[in-house]
């Protein structure tokens, strides 16, 4: 079982990093830097390797915060590198050509980044959130000793799976995935929540080749959905990846069990009633604007660079393909009748 986790931790994206032309002050133009970026890592962590490569070419004066773009799209630094690659390169580009900037941080678009500290903070925060989702509280993470925290972060920085497993097992963040993976189907029924981050992009036209897939040139074209997958008791035994993805996209795949006319609050955890100014709660909005599931097609699901079969048990995916902060990052391409 550990094999898959090892592959995930060893996964890396070859990057070819170019200095932005506006910042080149020498002739000839400096050659691009070639870096192997860990999938589970983050772009700002590569700066110590990249900066020396370009320092001679940079204009004088102190640099701003470093940032990256892909085809003009500023890259969100707190998204793991592997996820960015899976999401933005429909047809995987190897090496992946990125542009680095040492000036002009787009602070109206990107959240500020103060180097490794910011990345670490973002990581710990996500870990806390995952802990809360799994256990209903983040005590284990908050109570981590300082040395443990340091070692956990170091293990992620250095891609040291052994060290990571040693520390993270203390956090007791097993999910429903563990119950079923080891018990071989005899698992106890367990209701649980699994931390998932979904990155959804929609297309309205079909394409056969990934090369023909439309380019993502704006983050507005991607729906980021930070919603846990809920697994209820026995159904966990048969819960597939497809079930999981559909369960957190109720707007595209409405729950068949609920009839929208009855306002049953209890069942429909994922639906919200729509308030109006008069305080009326009406649910018709949901019915009208939900696409019937016939017309919506899941075209692509990518996790850790893999496109698993949709009927794979979700528990296996959770057990083996999660990132170190215990989130499962899933890139989904949907074909919908009409793009909003």
């Amino acid at each position: 079982m550990e094999e898959a986790q090892k592959y995930v931790w060893e996964g890396a994206i070859p990057l070819q990093i170019h200095l932005h032309e506006s910042e080149v002050t020498t002739l000839p133009t400096p050659p691009p830097a070639l870096i192997l970026a860990p999938r589970i890592g983050y772009l700002p962590l590569l700066i110590p390797q990249i900066k020396p490569h370009f320092s001679n070419a940079l204009p004088p004066g102190s640099p701003d915060t470093v940032w990256f773009d892909y085809n003009g799209l500023p890259l969100k630094w707190y998204i793991p590198t592997g996820v960015l690659f899976d999401l933005l390169c429909a047809e995987p580009e190897r090496p992946w050509n990125l542009t680095v900037h040492f000036r002009g941080y787009p602070s109206n678009i990107l959240v500020p980044c103060e180097g490794e500290d910011s990345v670490k903070w973002s990581f710990i925060n996500s870990l806390k959130e995952a802990a809360y989702i799994i256990n209903g509280n983040c005590k284990n993470v908050m109570n981590m000793s300082q040395p443990d925290q340091v070692e956990l972060w170091r293990s992620v920085l250095n891609g040291n799976l052994e060290a990571y497993v040693r520390i993270s097992s203390k956090l007791r963040l097993g999910t429903v995935g563990d119950e079923y993976a080891d018990g071989g189907g005899q698992g106890q029924v367990k209701t649980g929540r699994v931390p998932v981050r979904l990155y959804v992009w929609s297309v309205s036209e079909d394409f056969d080749d990934l090369e023909d897939a439309p380019q993502i040139d704006s983050w507005d074209k991607i729906s980021y959905i930070n919603r846990p997958v809920e697994i209820h008791g026995e159904e966990g035994n048969y819960f597939t990846l497809q079930d999981a993805v559909k369960s957190i996209l109720p707007e595209y795949f409405p729950n068949k069990s609920s009839t929208k006319e009855e306002s049953s609050r209890d069942e429909d955890e994922n639906e919200q009633t729509v308030p109006s100014e008069e305080g009326e709660k009406y649910l018709s909005e949901n019915v009208d604007t939900c696409y019937p599931s016939d017309n919506v097609e899941i075209k692509l699901v990518r996790i850790q660079g893999i496109e698993p079969k949709m009927d794979i048990p979700f528990s296996w995916v959770v057990k083996n393909l999660t990132n170190p902060e215990h989130y499962l990052h899933i890139c989904v391409c949907l074909k919908v009748p009409q793009v909003l």
Partner: protein, 220 residues
């Protein structure tokens, strides 16, 4: 809201919508001289959030900042439940006029609402964090200085792909639990959902100087 969730100080996504609905009605009734909170739909018309934008925050010398109506024109002379200091209507220094946008967004992970806000000057230029800090009530400033990483942070807005300021949610359920247990009336009448946001905002609003009139707690 299931008793279990009530006991934990959290609420479901559905209940958030219910509470928001009640909150809007309540606010528009009690705070009629204030601009209304609105419900904004996002994510393909299913998820939504509460929005109050373009609110004036002007700090006087003596008191901590208080959110008030944007300009004398909108201020009514009737008995106003919100204690609007006359001084807030007079902008002696136009440069000190700061506008705030507030969004209340449901967090699926922690199962509580989260306050997102951003601030800008009269030219629409975003404010620097230390300018915002100066606007904040004194007790907020202290909490901020005590812990840089866990109170107000700048993070991406869940829907708008822009950096906004956010109040950290991980302690919310704890103090909401206390709030509900402390109030017998709430426990008995069982209208916890409808009042959840009022109660929540009465605490959270303090951070940005937004006062929730007591009348709102009585509205049912």
């Amino acid at each position: 809201m299931g008793t279990k969730e009530e006991a934990q100080g959290t609420l479901s996504s559905t209940d958030f919508g219910v509470s928001a609905s009640a909150f809007i009605l309540n606010w528009n009734t009690v705070c009629s001289s204030f601009p209304p909170w609105t419900w904004v739909l996002s994510h393909h018309q299913v998820e939504g959030y509460l929005s109050l934008e373009n609110i004036l925050l002007s700090s006087t010398q003596e008191e901590h900042g208080e959110l008030s109506c944007p300009g004398p024109g909108k201020h009514s002379h009737q008995e106003d439940p919100i204690d609007v200091d006359d001084a807030t209507l007079v902008h002696t220094n136009p440069c000190k006029v700061h506008y705030y946008d507030l969004h209340i967004i449901y967090c699926n992970s922690y199962r509580v609402p989260v306050l997102y806000f951003r601030a800008y000057d009269s030219d629409g230029e975003p404010l620097e964090f230390d300018e915002i800090e100066n606007d904040l009530p004194a007790y907020s400033k202290k909490a901020l200085s005590d812990s840089k990483w866990t109170f107000i942070t700048q993070e991406e807005h869940p829907y708008l792909n822009r950096p906004w300021y956010k109040l950290h949610p991980c302690g919310t359920s704890e103090w909401m639990k206390l709030l509900f247990h402390a109030d017998d009336a709430l426990a008995k009448t069982g209208v916890a959902i409808e009042l959840y946001l009022v109660a929540w905002l009465s605490v959270v609003g303090h951070v940005v100087g937004l006062r929730i009139p007591f009348e709102m707690m009585k509205q049912l």
